[in-house]
């Protein structure tokens, strides 16, 4: 084996070298650089020498605490209420800026909930990062199952011997070949709040009852809109992978099931789905990874806005590393993302392990 790889194959290695070189320079090396930079205070351009800072970058990203706020009371011990009747609480900054609580210094409120009269406030050293983290997970949790499921449905539909079926295959696959940047730009027009295609369509379908909204400008719809577009864009790719899985299932198995009297659902349940097991594992892992890497759509369509409602981890990493020249902060986010994806993939592999 060794001799085959080294001695007898010099030309082969020669041909492979440019590819290996590029991969090494642009993928392998940066990967390790990210680990290194995340432990320093490296900036993109800086006159100061780089210093080792240990896990400071991670602390400033992941710092989380819960503080309890008692309601403000008047001298008689009565709870103070504002004009709307809502209970008044001391401001969070009285704690985060207080010298009495050095551990909370610099942290800001992320969200709060009430138990009885007391309010519990979750404060984070980096609220934007936390929002990005949550958005990313939300994106994965919605897009991965919906996209995989939809792709499977499409694959089942186009896995038939019908005249002109290739036209449908082409149509479904087309968005995959178009650059995501172009797709994002087009969908910005579709989602446009003033005269967008979607608003026009909904308004026409509801005979004018739908008043239209700024899909990407509204924090409650922005992330959902991007999810919908992302699902549409990549569903064709996964459809093709499902299709290849479907076509590896022996037609005789379907005939056997037919003779045994299986109906359509039973055929899917006992023949198709078990036969797609390996494909399902692949698709799940691939979609999960792609979802975690959500960036281009955000960059083109919303820039993380409005009100950080579409911040994502990769967008934050790029934003920090190049936007704010904070290479070390961006690297730390990348490393965190890597660890998240790695552990999820390992969990998925363990859950879907073969018997």
């Amino acid at each position: 084996m060794a001799s085959k790889l080294t001695t007898s194959n010099r030309a082969g290695w020669g041909f492979a070298l440019p590819g290996f070189g590029l991969i090494a320079v642009f993928i392998v090396l940066p990967f390790f650089f990210a680990f290194y930079f995340s432990l320093t205070n490296q900036r993109l351009i800086s006159p100061n020498p780089t210093e080792y800072v240990g896990l400071d970058n991670y602390r400033s990203l992941l710092g989380l605490a819960v503080i309890t706020l008692e309601p403000e009371r008047d001298d008689a011990g009565q709870i103070l209420r504002d004009a709307d009747g809502a209970i008044e609480y001391p401001r969070v900054r009285t704690i985060t800026r207080s010298d009495d609580f050095p551990q909370y210094r610099g942290m800001r409120e992320w969200f709060r909930w009430h138990s009885g009269d007391t309010a519990r406030v979750v404060i984070a050293s980096d609220v934007v990062f936390m929002k990005a983290l949550v958005n990313t997970f939300l994106f994965v949790l919605v897009v991965a199952p919906v996209q995989a499921g939809l792709a499977l449905c499409l694959a089942l539909l186009i896995n038939q011997r019908l005249r002109g079926i290739n036209i449908y295959r082409t149509i479904y696959f087309m968005p995959v070949v178009v650059s995501i940047v172009v797709v994002s730009l087009l969908w910005r027009f579709i989602y446009d709040g003033n005269d967008g295609l979607l608003n026009n369509l909904l308004s026409a379908l509801s005979f004018g009852a739908f008043e239209g909204r700024d899909w990407l400008g509204d924090p409650s719809t922005a992330l959902g809109s991007i999810m919908a577009m992302s699902i549409w864009q990549a569903v064709g790719f996964h459809m093709v992978i499902w299709l290849s899985g479907l076509q590896t299932i022996s037609p005789t198995l379907y005939e056997a099931a037919d003779i045994e009297g299986a109906n359509r659902w039973q055929t899917f349940r006992y023949v198709t789905w078990p036969g797609l097991r390996n494909t399902a594992v692949l698709i799940l892992i691939v979609i999960t990874m792609q979802c975690f890497a959500l960036f281009a759509q955000i960059d083109v369509m919303t820039n993380g806005g409005p009100l950080d409602s579409t911040q994502t981890l990769v967008f934050q990493a790029v934003e920090r590393g190049y936007g704010r020249q904070d290479i070390s902060g961006g690297s730390a986010i990348s490393v965190i993302l890597f660890l998240i994806v790695l552990s999820i993939s390992l969990v998925q592999r363990w859950l879907t392990r073969g018997r």
Partner: protein
């Protein structure tokens, strides 16, 4: 258990007709083998009976009911495929019970029937294994088990032994034969292997190009082939065909000759010939007996000898340049180049009209 009747059954794929009007009667409990070369339509015919292919025209009756338009599951058939078609993710038990699971049968019934099938096929010890842990023969046994559990009126076998190696094939062949004896069910078996056909069948249907060439018991077909195709298809080594010229014709027999063949009277088998016709004389290699060079009816030199121990197959080049195979039922040393004569019992020879010879490999 049931009868199966095929009446003028036809099948076309587009403009191409692959089954050209087939009539076959299969009696209750009969083991019928469809045999023929690749592409003769035997598998298509079986799939039409199973309901996996539409019937273009004609009628198919199972147990007296026309089933042309019934779904496979409603025809009362079970099928065993060449590639086994057992579900890889299920245990043997689940595979065998699949039809019952689909039908929602109660657990007790499932267990009883699976145990019964496992007992018949002697595979109780395999029930909890997955197909990947089984050999080819065991897999085919699972497939047969799944068929038994269905308790079908007719068993259909589509070349069930073709994916097995030679030794295993013989074992399984015998097992299928025993299975038929035990169950007494009607079985239709498709194969391209004439040995399987000869050994298993109560009745053989020889097919070629979507048409029935001959139907009958194995021995009928072997001893009285209706045409050149059947004559050449059954028996190994295959029958010798000698181009001859018909001399005088008598009642039920004709005198034929060639430069290498002394004039001989052979039975015409009901076919009519007249003097001067070109014809084909067919003689099984087993019926040829070597004699001294000047004795016998055929004369030539040995071109090749194959010694198989119990049998010796010799290839003889005749004086007129033709070639003939003789199978001698003993071990004989015959050096290539030896002058040799061959004699045969004229009553065991067949005379066919000289049409284009059908010599597809089989």
């Amino acid at each position: 258990m049931a009868t199966v009747r095929l009446r003028n059954l036809r099948k076309s794929f587009g403009a191409v007709e692959v089954i050209k009007g087939v009539d076959i009667d299969i009696e209750d409990g009969e083991f019928v083998v469809f045999v023929g070369p690749s592409g003769c339509g035997k598998s298509t015919l079986l799939r039409m009976i199973a309901g996996l292919e539409d019937i273009t025209s004609g009628t198919l009756e199972i147990d007296g009911v026309t089933v042309n338009d019934l779904a496979p599951k409603d025809r009362g058939i079970a099928m065993v495929f060449q590639t086994y078609a057992i579900f890889p993710h299920m245990t043997v038990r689940e595979n065998v019970a699949f039809g019952l699971t689909i039908a929602g049968a109660p657990r007790a019934e499932k267990e009883r029937k699976v145990a019964e099938a496992a007992r018949i096929l002697q595979m109780e010890h395999l029930l909890d294994r997955h197909p990947s842990q089984l050999s080819g023969g065991q897999r085919q046994r699972v497939a047969i088990g799944r068929a038994i559990v269905r308790d079908p009126k007719v068993f259909l076998f589509d070349e069930p032994l073709s994916n097995l190696d030679a030794a295993l094939r013989m074992d399984m062949r015998m097992e299928i034969g025993k299975l038929h004896q035990n169950l007494g069910a009607s079985m239709i078996y498709v194969t391209h292997d004439q040995v399987e056909a000869m050994t298993l069948a109560d009745k053989i249907v020889v097919l070629k190009d979507g048409e029935v060439m001959q139907t009958g018991t194995p021995m009928e077909l072997y001893h009285n082939p209706a045409n050149l195709f059947v004559a050449g298809f059954l028996g190994a080594p295959s029958m010798n065909f000698i181009k001859v010229e018909v001399g005088s014709v008598g009642p039920g027999q004709a005198t034929v000759r060639t430069p290498a063949l002394d004039p001989i009277d052979v039975p015409t088998g009901g076919r009519s010939f007249k003097g001067g016709d070109k014809a084909i004389l067919a003689v099984r290699p087993q019926y040829l007996t070597p004699t001294a060079p000047d004795a016998g009816m055929l004369h030539g030199t040995v071109a090749l000898t194959e010694r198989l121990g119990a049998e010796t197959v010799i290839d003889v080049t005749l004086r007129d340049g033709g070639s003939i195979i003789a199978a001698i039922a003993e071990d004989r040393v015959l050096k290539p180049g030896t002058e040799i004569g061959l004699s045969f019992d004229a009553a065991k020879a067949h005379l066919f009209a000289d049409e284009a010879l059908h010599t597809e490999p089989h």
